[in-house]
Amino acid sequence: MEIKIRRYESIYIVDIYGDMDMYNANDVKNLINTMIKKDIRYYIINLDNVDYIDSSGIGALIYVHSELKKRNMALRIVNVKGSVKKVIELTKLIGFFQIAPTVKDGIAELSRMNRS
C-alpha cells in the first residue's frame, strides 16, 4: 500500500494505492493522527486505487471516521467501488460513513461546510 497526499485549499486528499489489509491498515490510522495534530480539519480519503480491503482496512476507516468526528473535523470517503464497496455494504457501514461519489464531489461538499 502507498499513500499520497494532495491539498485543495484547506482540504487534504489522501490517495491510497494498493491493498488496505491487516498488514498496513495501521499506516492509515497513524497518518491521520499526524495530520490531526497539525490541525488539518477537512479530509478526503480516496479509494479509487484500492481493489482489496479487509476488516482491518474497514477498522482503519472506522477509526478515522470516529477520531475526526470527535474533533468536529470532516471526512468524505470517495470512489467506493467494486469489492471495497461490497465489503462496506456487507459490514452495513454505508450510511454510517460519509461517502461521496468522486474527489470532486467530496471537495464540493467539504467546501460548502467550510464556508457555512
Partner: protein, 185 residues
Amino acid sequence: MAEEKSEIKEIRVDEASPLFDKKGMFHKRFKSDFRQIRYFTLLIVQKAPPEIKEINLLEQQISEIIKNAVKHGNHNDPKKHVDVWYSFSETHARLIVQDEGEGFKRLEEWNEFNKKRNECFKNQNFEEMAKYVSFLTEDSDENDSGNALFAAVEYWNGGIVFNKKKNCVAVAKYFPVKRRGLKLE
C-alpha cells in the same frame, strides 16, 4: 445441501451440522504465522472457479476466518496449527477451519451485540450504531478491528457454525446459477 434461511443471522453452535461433513473436501495444514495469512488464503482460493471469486471478495472472506484462527485461536503460536478443509464449485464455497485454541468463548455475546447493531442499522440510527461498530474483548489488541464477523455472517449465506469447543468453524456460501452461452434467436 439446501440453503438455510433465517430472519436474524446468527452464528450457531451445532456439531451435528452437515457443514462439518468433510467428505470430498481438500485439506491443508498451516503453522500459525500471521505474516502468511494472505498467502495461505491464496493457496486455498486458487481452487475456486473465477465465477464465484467476485474479484476478491471470496479471498477476503476466507482470509478473515483464517486470521481469526491464527490470531485469536492460536495466538500466533507457531507451534500450533490451523487445519483448513475447503470445497468450491460454480455454485458453492465451503470451508472448515480448525485451530488449537480455547474456542470462541464470547459467541453468544457476539450474537447479542450483532442483533443490537442490526437494529441500529435497520432504523438508520448511525449515532447509536457508533457504539456497535467494533466487537472488542479483553483479548483484543490495538490492531483488532472487531468487525470481520459482521460481514461474514452476511456473506456466508449457508451459515456459520461452530463445534461444541468453538475452536472449529464451518461456513458455506451458495451462489445463484448463472445462465451461460449465447442466446439463440
